[in-house]
């Protein structure tokens, strides 16, 4: 069969429908804490396009990082949403890693394609731990994406080192989620999401944020906005 002949027929069948569109994200975000023990992992991936009730038992895999064992649960599809519901509640104060594995396309069946970034591994935990995940800039402020939204007392207790120098008297404020939180249609009820706090600070390459006397997070400061940083943690396409 000549190459021209093959190309002709490939072109004839290339007339497929427009690819499905919609939000791309995986929730909870990478590094998120205080995840609801009854929460469901949700992946919105329009290109993945899994037909309703199509069996995809391995499309979402979750590992309990304390036991190193796979978590039993059910993967279900609902339109462009792929969900994982554990067989039992998430354990208290536990940390989990999870991945999205694109199902195998079949010669005479569904064809699966991953949205960019959706297959990256992520972790979440059910504890109330508070940590900085990434840092970036919003206007002239230095902003931290937090593993959850800190309450007022926690906000007042935050202290900061910039490039290993103490930055005395830094005052932090929470930023309105409308400025940084992406649209997450179908996100699990009770998922508290992330938090973003900002403070006035000069230029630096690294920041260490103390959330208590004993806990701190060292993060590289990027030039990205909180909105971009949060989207990356949700594995959203930009």
């Amino acid at each position: 069969m000549s190459a021209k002949f093959s190309l002709l027929f490939v072109a004839l069948t290339a007339c497929t429908s427009e690819p499905p569109t919609g939000a791309v994200f995986a929730s909870p975000a990478d590094g998120q804490s205080a995840f609801d023990r009854d929460g469901t992992l949700v992946v919105s991936a329009p290109l993945l396009a899994v037909p309703v009730d199509y069996p995809t038992p391995q499309a979402i895999r979750v590992v309990d990082l304390q036991t190193d064992g796979f978590v039993d649960g059910t993967v279900a599809t609902d339109g462009v949403l792929l969900t994982f519901t554990p067989s039992t509640r998430w354990r208290r104060n536990a940390r989990y890693a999870w991945t999205v594995d694109v199902p195998e396309s079949l010669p005479h069946g569904p064809q699966f394609e991953a949205d960019e970034g959706i297959e990256d591994a992520a972790i979440f935990d059910t504890s109330d731990s508070l940590s900085a995940l990434t840092a970036g800039r919003l206007d002239n402020q230095l902003c931290f994406v937090m593993s959850r939204t800190p309450d007022d007392q926690e906000l007042r207790g935050l202290t900061l080192d910039l490039d290993d120098e103490a930055s005395a008297g830094a005052l932090f404020e929470r930023i309105d989620p409308e400025l940084w939180e992406p649209e997450l249609p179908g996100r699990s009820d009770g998922d508290p999401g992330l938090g973003v706090v900002c403070t006035d600070a000069g230029d630096a390459d690294f920041a260490r944020l103390y959330t208590s006397d004993s806990d701190s997070s060292l993060v590289e400061i990027s030039s990205d906005s909180p909105e971009q940083l949060v989207a990356a943690l949700y594995r959203s396409a930009q």
Binding site: F5, T13, P51, D53, P55, H108, G109
Partner: protein, 259 residues
Amino acid sequence: MSRLTIGLAAILFAATASAGDLAGGNAVQAPRVEAVGGSGLEVQYAGMVGSDRGVNVWTTRARVTLDQVHISASVPVASYPTGLGQDIDLGNIGLSAWYDLPYFGLNHSMGLKVHLPAGERAYAWQNSPEELWPGSGLDLLWQGRFGTNGTTLLLQGSLGIHESVDFAPFQDRWVRAGASAVLDRDLGNRFGVTGSLDMQYWDTTPIEMSVAGRADIVTGLRMRGGILFPIATWAGATPADRPAGIREATLFLSAGLAL
């Protein structure tokens, strides 16, 4: 039993009646071309062979002729691979009605064929996109038949609109125009061979050929067996992410009882 005995038995078997008598209302057909005329019941198996095998379809078809009108109904049951091994479900029900047009140098008929979803999750196709993957559609058909001295040439044209559901790797809706040519030749009184060439666009198998043999075991009972070659699929024209290559063909076997 020796080969000679079997051969003599076959010759005697073939010589016991005329082809017309034994056909008993079983009309010429091919994978894309359904038999028009007569009343009866047929059961067909079509299974894919080769490295891309896995989809197997059992179809039951009933047809009734009322003067110039021919009605048929078919129900496919499919076994197909999924991410969790083989599954089984109903495909789409096919209903067709044909009307014999006045003789015009040939016998010809106009037909209307619809397919409606019966199952919910047969997310697969064998050669036709509308057979299994849940969806519905409508085709307008014309079929002409020329016959002389044990040879029948059958031509069919179709134009239809179809839709599929749930993220099929092809269009949600598509228009299809198709043309088929079938050549059928009697071999003695009981046997015959049939070849077909089909072209259709848009379709999961835009060009295909088939060859089949048939035997009228007793009056009205026709067995068929053959193989379909999806030429365009071999050339890479498939909705699946598969390169060009000969990895599949479809074997089909059927038993039809004319009533």
